[in-house]
C-alpha cells in the first residue's frame, strides 16, 4: 500500500504524455505516495532552468496518479510537453483550496483550458451523485481536448456545437437548466461575466482564478487580488487563499 507523505514536494514519474487537441497536452504523473486532492486545487511544476514553477489545476486524480491538462504557452509548458514516459518530474502540491462542493444542482462552465479543473470537479460531483451539467466554450473544434466528455459545447466559429461565445448563452442556460450553483474556470473576462450574471439571478458562483505565482504557498504576496471580506477589501493570495473564490467576493477590475 502506498503511504501518505507529509511534505508536499515529490519526484514523480511521467507515465503518459499525449497531445489531446490542436494546442493542449495531457500529462499523467505517478507519485511515490498517495495524496488527497480536491477539485480546484493545483500542483506546481519545476521546469528545467526556469526560476518560477508553473501552476496547473489538477485535471485528474486517482490514488497516486495526477493528470494535468495544459496549453502550450511558452518555455515552461514547452518543457513539460517535451517530457517522455519514464522521465522524472518535480512537483509540489496539492496547493490552494479547491471548490467547496455543495449538494445542489450544479452548472459547470469551462472556457478554454479552464476545462481541466471543471472536468475534475465533474468527476467529483458524479461520484457524489450530485446532478450537474458541464458546458464548455472553445475557439473552434480543434481546441477541444479529445479526452474529456462535455455535455454541451460552444465554439466561437461554430465548427461544432452552438456558435458563439459561451457567455452569449448564459441567460439561456440558467433559465433552461435552472442551476442552484455555478462553478467556473477560464479567462478573467469569462469569470467576471459569469460572476456578474450569476449575481443577477441570485446564484452562488465559485470561480477558479489564475495569476502569475512565485511561491505557491502565500508567502511572497506576488499573486494577490482584491477580495471583499466583511465589508473590507483585503489583499488575498490566489495561491493559498484561492484559487477558488466566491464570485461575489472578488473585486472585479
Amino acid at each position: 500500500m502506498l503511504q501518505e507523505k507529509t511534505k508536499k514536494i515529490y519526484k514523480a514519474k511521467v507515465v503518459r504524455v499525449e497531445k489531446v487537441s490542436s494546442s493542449s497536452y495531457l500529462i499523467e504523473t505517478e507519485l511515490p505516495y498517495k495524496v488527497e486532492i480536491k477539485a480546484g486545487q493545483f500542483i506546481s511544476v519545476y521546469c528545467d532552468g526556469l526560476t518560477l514553477r508553473r501552476p496547473f489545476s489538477v485535471y485528474s486524480h486517482n490514488n497516486n496518479i495526477i493528470g494535468i491538462l495544459f496549453k502550450e504557452r511558452g518555455k515552461g509548458t514547452n518543457y513539460i510537453k517535451s517530457l517522455k514516459t519514464g522521465d522524472e518530474i518535480d512537483i509540489t502540491g496539492p496547493l490552494g483550496n479547491g471548490f467547496n462542493i455543495k449538494n445542489k444542482k450544479s452548472l459547470l462552465i469551462g472556457a478554454g483550458i479552464g476545462v481541466a479543473a471543471m472536468a475534475f470537479l465533474k468527476s467529483e460531483l458524479d461520484k457524489n451523485g450530485i446532478e450537474n451539467l458541464f458546458v464548455c466554450g472553445f475557439l473552434n473544434k480543434h481546441e477541444i481536448p479529445n479526452c474529456i466528455n462535455i455535455d454541451k459545447i460552444y465554439t466561437d466559429d461554430g465548427s461544432v456545437g452552438e456558435k458563439g461565445s459561451v457567455l452569449n448563452y448564459l441567460d439561456q442556460m440558467i433559465n433552461n437548466y435552472k442551476p442552484e450553483i455555478i462553478y467556473t474556470c477560464g479567462p478573467y473576462i469569462v469569470l467576471k461575466t459569469i460572476a456578474e450574471t450569476a449575481q443577477q439571478y441570485g446564484l452562488e458562483v465559485q470561480v477558479a482564478m489564475e495569476k502569475v505565482m512565485a511561491c505557491g504557498i502565500g508567502v511572497c504576496r506576488g499573486c494577490v487580488i482584491d477580495i471583499k471580506k466583511n465589508g473590507e477589501i483585503v489583499n488575498t493570495t490566489v495561491c493559498k487563499d484561492g484559487p477558488v473564490f466566491l464570485g461575489s467576493e472578488v473585486v472585479w477590475q
Binding site: 511534505k7 508536499k8 514536494i9 519545476y46 526556469l50 526560476t51 518560477l52 514553477r53 518535480d90 509540489t92 502569475v212 505565482m213 512565485a214 511561491c215 505557491g216 504557498i217 502565500g218 508567502v219 511572497c220 504576496r221 506576488g222 499573486c223 494577490v224 489583499n235
Partner: protein, 308 residues
C-alpha cells in the same frame, strides 16, 4: 554515547547559528510556512518578511515577473505590521523552535527605532535592518545609499535594540565599502549583502498592428545577480571586520562555497526557495557532507582553507 559536535556551527559576532544556511526576507514568510516542504527548524535561521510599524498593503500593479535568470518583484513591503507579528507569528516561531531574524523596515528613522524597540522588548534575538527595498516611495532605500544617513539610522536603532543587528545593504550604490563601514561604525554586528538590483522588464505584445506594452520595474533577484553579489562580498570583506551574510542567486553548494570563499560567514537563500522549496535544507546536508568528505574538522576550517 559520543557527544555530537555540530560541525556547521556558525559564530556571527553576537549570535551563534547551528549552521550558516539562512533564508532571505520576503521569500520565506513569517514562520513555519515552508513546513509543507521541509523542517524549517533545521535551518540556521529564517529572516522574516520585512516588518513595519503599521501593516502595509503593498503595491497594486503587477508584482512579479520572470526574467532570463531570475525574477523581478515589486511587492512593496506588504506585511502584517509589528503588533500582529508579535501576537500571531512570533508564538509559532517559538513553539516550533525556529531560529529567526526579524527584518525591520520603515519610512522614517523614528519608525525603524520604534519597531526595533518593540523587538527588543519582546526579547527577539536578532534583527536585520532593511535599508535596501527598491519598491517603496519613501524611506528604506534612501537610508541605504548615503553613508551619513545610514550611520545615523543604525546608531539610533542600536540605542533601542540590544540584540544581534545586521544591516542589509543594497547593491544600487557606487561605493558599497563606505556603507559597510558606516554600518560597522554605528554598531552593527554584521552586514547582509545584497538586496535586489533595481531593474525593469518590458512585456510587449502586438495585436492587430498595435503594440501594447507593460513596464514592470522592481527588484531583480535570482541566479543572474550572483556575480554582482560575489563581487560586493569580496569588496566588503576587505573593508569591514564584522561578519558578512552573503545573499544573491544562491542555488547550489558550489554557490555557497563561492560566497564563503568571497568572505561570507553565512548565506541566505532567496529566490531559489520559490524554484525549489526544499533547497535550504538540502544545502545544509550537502555542506555538511562536503566538509566530512574532504576531511575538514568543521566549517571554520573549511572557511580558512577557502580563503587562503
Amino acid at each position: 554515547m559520543a557527544v555530537m559536535t555540530n560541525i556547521l556551527q556558525t559564530d556571527l559576532n553576537g549570535i551563534i547559528l547551528k549552521n550558516p544556511i539562512m533564508t532571505a526576507s520576503g521569500t520565506y514568510g513569517y514562520n513555519n510556512e515552508y513546513d509543507d516542504f521541509i523542517n524549517v527548524s533545521s535551518l540556521g535561521a529564517i529572516v522574516t518578511k520585512a516588518i513595519s510599524l503599521n501593516p502595509r498593503e503593498g503595491n497594486k500593479h503587477t508584482r512579479i515577473t520572470e526574467t532570463e535568470a531570475g525574477m523581478i518583484n515589486s511587492i512593496g513591503l506588504e506585511n502584517v505590521g509589528v503588533e500582529k507579528f508579535i501576537n500571531e507569528k512570533l508564538p509559532v516561531l517559538k513553539s516550533e523552535n525556529i531560529d529567526f531574524f526579524v527584518n525591520v523596515a520603515g519610512s522614517t528613522l523614528d519608525e525603524y527605532c520604534q519597531v526595533a524597540k518593540i523587538c527588543d522588548e519582546n526579547n527577539i534575538k536578532a534583527i536585520e535592518l532593511n535599508v535596501s527595498c527598491p519598491n517603496v516611495k519613501s524611506g528604506c532605500l534612501e537610508f541605504g545609499v548615503d553613508e551619513k544617513s545610514l550611520y545615523e539610522l543604525v546608531s539610533s536603532v542600536r540605542k533601542e535594540y540590544g540584540g544581534f543587528l545586521t544591516v542589509k545593504l543594497t547593491p544600487n550604490v557606487t561605493s558599497i565599502e563606505k556603507l559597510g563601514v558606516a554600518a560597522q561604525n554605528a554598531g552593527a554586528n554584521a552586514i547582509s549583502a545584497i538586496n535586489t538590483l533595481k531593474g525593469s522588464k518590458i512585456k510587449i505584445s502586438c495585436i492587430n498592428g498595435r503594440v501594447q506594452k507593460e513596464i514592470i520595474t522592481g527588484g531583480y533577484s535570482g541566479r543572474g545577480i550572483k556575480p554582482v553579489a560575489i563581487g560586493i562580498v569580496i569588496r566588503l570583506s576587505k573593508a569591514v571586520d564584522i561578519p558578512i551574510i552573503g545573499i544573491g542567486g544562491i542555488e547550489t553548494l558550489e554557490d555557497v562555497l563561492e560566497f564563503l570563499s568571497a568572505g561570507a560567514d553565512a548565506v541566505q537563500i532567496g529566490t531559489a526557495n520559490f524554484t525549489h522549496p526544499d533547497i535550504a535544507q538540502k544545502l545544509v546536508s550537502e555542506l555538511e557532507e562536503y566538509i566530512i568528505k574532504n576531511g575538514f574538522k568543521d566549517l571554520n576550517e573549511l572557511k580558512k582553507e577557502l580563503r587562503k
